[in-house]
Amino acid sequence: MFAACADPKAIEGLTWLTCYLTSGKHLDFYWSFVTVLALLAITAPTAMALGFGGAMAARSQFAPLRWIGKTYTAMVRGVPDIVYFLFFVIALDQGIEYLNHLRVCEDLSQPVFRGLEFHVCAEAKVPPATAAPFVFQAYGFSLAVITFAIVFGAFVANVIYGAMQAVPRAQLETGEAYGMSHGQVFRRILVPQMWTYALPGLTNLWMILIKATPLLFLLGVKDIVYYARELGGTKTQAYEYPHPDWRLFYFLGLLVFYLAMTKLSEIVLGRISNRLSKGQATAAGEAMRKAAI
């Protein structure tokens, strides 16, 4: 990157460290932090949308829709989440390949599931075997995002469903007394009022989502854990920057990253919670009212 870095073996001390930390592999490492943040930025709104939809479905008057909503919210209880992560990614992958198989393959005489094994013809592979490595990365990342969104959506649905139930009935009745329709009560009263009850649960989920991001590594995406292991491992003299096993320091760096994310979220969400509690008929709102007097 810098001119001084042309011959890494000749330099030492601080210059060596600067050169080391700006090597090509390290820039990839820094980009992988962006991958993690991108995952958070995409998953959080998607999971919110799915969760909101799930909660609305669970409250629906129309029975089949209600069953779907209830099943979705009940799905994630009691089973280790990591099972879902491993399961969904392969299931999604195979689902897509199976549909593709029906579409493009000529020889459909062989069953796709032979015994306990799964076979599709070569043309049906997604992405095609000839695709660039970047396509494989992007495909893996999108599968991961979809999986995260589905699993977290179920959790969000649980929280929002509870929050909708927690809005005092009297507030909704007041709306009805003013002649609002069902939809108007929902839009103008239930949804705005629900957030103060949903926020503690959503805060919790956000913290959990942050801590779930290393699972990207298990899903085969080249994320920060992957690079920390790659870069930290012992480098012999054959490498440009030889060094002993430094994985411990890389993982310490990751630990600090996560702790900083947690602390930052705590501060920001604390502010939002204060803002939302203003004027609410809850203990927090009451405490604020008393403090103001």
Partner: protein, 276 residues
């Protein structure tokens, strides 16, 4: 093709190294999957039960330190809880493994005695230590919250009867704390059992293919390219395990609440949890 009974004999204790040496390579049967994944569950139970048992004591100490007035006690406890609750368990496993590997191979020489260290890098010890510290941090937070929500009236009543100091703690505060914390603690226990599946997916290697339930499920999914059988089997076993934990903790909850009238007892409500 062997009968299911033979398969059971071969693989029921495979995860702790008893039985057939080689894992099945071809012609996977449902019976093999059920037996082997069930055998892996031994490890999940081992990690979960021991970490909970040891963690309980440390969590009590940490909760007391957190509520202490002296900053010398309070600050370290707060930091401990923040570090273990604020970072992914996954990273903690990696970090612990790297740290334990760095210990001198030959053992530490202490006053002429050589203390072996290599066993610490094995999953049965290293991962257990991480899980123990982790669950202690989470439980400490629960116990701390419970300590703070003991009704003021209870403490005043104790003092009015002349119960103070250690006696007050032992007879009033601690039992009440336990009773208030128990429903949340049950959830923590379930959550811990579920996180034991992370052990062999991070840092700690599985020696001669002796792994936990998820390790074997992953093995089958990799070999057969079919996730629809092994993962639901894991899910099935974990639902059973969760039911077992709920039953056991429910019994303890009943015991803790035995002096209260039926309608004021706190009930255990299962709350969904995710990754930690």
């Amino acid at each position: 093709m062997s009968t299911c009974w033979e398969t059971f004999g071969d693989y029921a204790l495979r995860s702790i190294g008893i039985g057939a040496k080689l894992l099945p390579k071809t012609d996977f049967t449902l019976c093999q999957q059920f037996t082997l994944i069930g055998s892996g569950l031994i490890w999940n139970v081992y990690f979960g039960a021991l970490a909970l048992l040891f963690g309980f004591f440390l969590a009590n100490a940490l909760a007391l330190a957190r509520i202490a007035h002296s900053p010398w006690l309070r600050k370290p406890a707060e930091w401990f809880v923040f570090v273990f609750r604020g970072s992914p368990l996954f990273i903690q496993f990696f970090l612990a493994y790297e740290m334990l590997v760095m210990l001198p191979r030959t053992g530490i020489n202490l006053l002429g005695l050589t203390i072996e260290t290599s066993w610490l890098t094995r999953a049965w010890a290293g991962a257990l230590i991480v899980l123990f510290l982790n669950t202690a941090a989470y439980s400490a937070e629960i116990f701390y919250g419970a300590l703070r929500s003991i009704p003021k009236g209870d403490l005043e009543a104790a003092e009015a009867y002349g119960i103070t100091g250690w006696t007050k703690f032992r007879r009033i505060q601690w039992p009440t704390m336990l009773r208030l914390a128990w429903p949340s603690y049950t959830n923590e226990a379930i959550f811990l059992f579920q996180s034991t599946t992370l052990v062999f997916f991070s840092g700690f290697p599985a020696f001669s293919q002796m792994g936990d339930a998820l390790y074997y499920a992953n093995y089958f999914a990799d070999k057969t390219f079919n996730p629809f059988i092994p993962y639901p089997i894991v899910a099935f076993y974990f639902v059973l395990l969760t039911l077992g934990v709920i039953w056991l903790f429910g019994r303890i909850n009943r015991y803790l609440n035995r002096h209260l009238p039926q309608n004021t007892r706190s009930r255990i409500r299962l709350r969904p949890q995710l990754v930690r």
